[in-house]
């Protein structure tokens, strides 16, 4: 599904911030991407989302070489990937409902055709009464859930979530994690970037990709 081979990244003429990363994300797998702050988790997530190009190595997504992708292929691939960003990246002039529906709207689907799905998902993440609210009036946790709902609405094959529980209390964090686990059980491969060790310990079955010093180590989880 997602394969990195000797991937390295440097900004301009500076030193490599990520070097020789080789790993894969298999279909229906569940993994945490962890490491200290500033280790490069967000950068690696951006590479996985193909919003950043590596300076060396090969990234293959759904069997396609990212280096040779045409723009249309990239659009098609991104529709198979759901992403939750650390800074949410919700559009302030749209309502919560419109933000969550955005990927479906971008696919050219009619609003009537997806309204029920969006409403149900918003209720599922506890935002049923905040559908008309724009992001600036939402709390941090509500924005987080809206961002997660937007990533889930297309039922992605691969979900990339960058610190999805960073702004919520532990109880809600566990609830959101359970949501990801349920999605994983439905067949989605999940990558969650976090530095919350306690949270990871609650989901011991998950694989851990640990990044530090520009290198990556992979630890398999215990069988669930």
């Amino acid at each position: 599904m997602l394969r990195f081979e000797n991937v390295g990244l440097r900004y301009g003429m500076g030193p490599e911030v990520l070097g020789d990363l080789s790993f894969s994300v298999e279909p229906q797998s569940f993994q945490f991407l962890t490491g200290p702050s500033g280790a490069g988790k967000t950068t690696l997530m951006r590479l996985m989302l193909l919003s950043l190009r590596p300076t060396r190595g090969t990234i293959r997504v759904f069997g396609l070489d990212a280096a040779t992708l045409r723009k249309n292929d990239l659009t098609t691939l991104r529709r198979r990937i759901g992403a939750v960003f650390q800074d949410f990246r919700l559009l302030d002039h749209l309502s919560t409902y419109e933000n969550v529906a955005l990927p479906l709207r971008a696919m050219g689907r009619e609003e009537k055709g997806y309204r029920a799905e969006v409403v149900e998902l918003l209720r599922w993440v506890g935002l049923g009464d905040r559908m008309d609210a724009p992001p600036p009036v939402l709390s941090g946790g509500e924005k987080q859930r809206a961002a997660i709902a937007r990533a889930l609405i297309v039922r992605p094959e691969l979900l990339l979530a960058d610190e999805p529980t960073g702004n919520v209390d532990p109880l809600l964090a566990r609830r959101l994690l359970r949501l990801f686990v349920e999605l994983h059980r439905l067949g989605t491969a999940v990558v969650i970037a976090t530095h919350d060790l306690q949270l990871m310990d609650q989901f011991g079955f998950a694989r851990r990709l640990t990044i530090g010093g520009g290198k990556l180590a992979v630890f398999d989880g215990s069988p669930s």
Binding site: L49, S51, R53, K71, N72, T75, T76, R78, R79, A83, F85, R89, L91, H93, L94, S95, Y97, E98, A101, L102, P103, R105, A106, M107, G108, E111, R115, A116, E117, V119, E120, L121, R123, W124, M131, D132, R150, L152, V154, R155, L186
Partner: protein
């Protein structure tokens, strides 16, 4: 996320409980309002140019049809010629010509009256060989066919010369064409200026909406979809500007038409009427203004779409 629940929720959800399809590019911005003002002014000027060109073209057509339907026979008598019989012969020949509808010979008194502005009153002109004029009104269909009449006059009354005003008509036509071409050039310049303003505004809007464009790309929006959203946004601005400018132009022509009616009998009004006709735009002229407004609206949308597409295609 099971499917049956989805259907149940859909049935419960009221239609207008929340916003569902707000524009992805925010509607109100300072740059957007400035563009509306620029488009309104440019549309107004473009409509004035188009309307003015139509007025001149219509007036020119009227001048030429009037001038070409008139012709003049000038009889220049020699020292021993009987001018009255020459005039009578020329009138008789002209009246028989198929192209001539009517012929009116100026009497001696009328001819002398024509000279009064130059020679003054009270002079005895009876000893002078004053040329006599015969005014011909031509049939609309036969205005061009005066060759036979010219030949007949040359053989029967060699002292008579026929002037069919073609030179004047050609000059008037050339002047009108020049005005229309000038108006078309001005129109094109205005459209180019407006296109440039739209280009700047689109690039400005793209810079302001960089975050939106990035998010749209990340959620799987194609370049065409994003460009389409910008097109919708700018077409809306274009429509607002074109409506304001177009309505102002319609009001201008309607007012000018009413004022020209009240001026109609003043000396200045007659001169203006000679140049621009009655200053009243025909219904087809108003339709042309609507077409200009529609074209401005479409141009605004399509141009911004093209600029956005090119910009997005250059992105890595």
């Amino acid at each position: 996320m099971n499917e049956p629940a989805v259907e149940h929720v859909a049935a419960d959800e009221p239609e207008s409980a929340f916003k569902t399809n707000a524009p992805l590019i925010p509607r109100d911005s300072v740059a957007g309002r400035a563009l509306v003002v620029v488009i309104a002014i440019m549309t107004f000027l473009a409509c004035l140019t188009a309307g003015g060109a139509l007025l001149v073209a219509d007036a020119s057509k009227a001048w030429r049809s009037d001038v070409l339907r008139d012709a003049t026979i000038q009889v220049k008598p020699g020292p021993h010629d009987d001018v009255e019989s020459l005039v009578a012969k020329a009138v008789a020949i002209a009246a028989q010509a198929p192209a001539v509808e009517s012929a009116h010979a100026y009497s001696r008194a009328e001819s002398e009256k024509l000279l009064e502005p130059w020679l003054g009153q009270g002079l005895d002109l009876s000893q002078l060989p004053i040329p006599r004029l015969i005014l011909l009104r031509l049939r609309a269909s036969g205005a061009e066919d005066l060759t036979a009449l010219r030949k007949a006059l040359a053989s029967a009354v060699p002292q008579a010369g026929l002037d069919d005003h073609r030179v004047w008509a050609a000059r008037l036509g050339a002047m009108a064409r020049a005005i229309v071409i000038l108006a078309a050039a001005l129109f094109v310049l205005m459209i180019v200026a407006m296109g440039t303003a739209i280009g700047f505004a689109t690039r400005g809007a793209m810079a302001g909406a960089r975050e939106i464009v990035e998010v749209l790309h990340l959620v799987g929006a194609s370049d065409a979809f994003i460009a389409g959203e910008f097109e919708i946004h700018f077409r809306g601005l274009g429509l607002r500007g074109a409506m304001i400018g177009g309505l102002a132009a319609v009001a201008f022509f309607a007012t000018a038409s009413l004022l020209s009616l009240s001026w109609a009998h003043s000396p200045g009004g007659e001169e203006i009427a000679a140049m621009f006709g009655s200053f009243a735009l025909r219904p087809l002229g108003y339709l042309a203004l609507v077409v200009v407004c529609g074209a401005v609206t479409l141009l605004t949308g399509l141009l911004s779409r093209e600029i956005v597409m090119r910009h997005l295609q250059r992105l890595p």
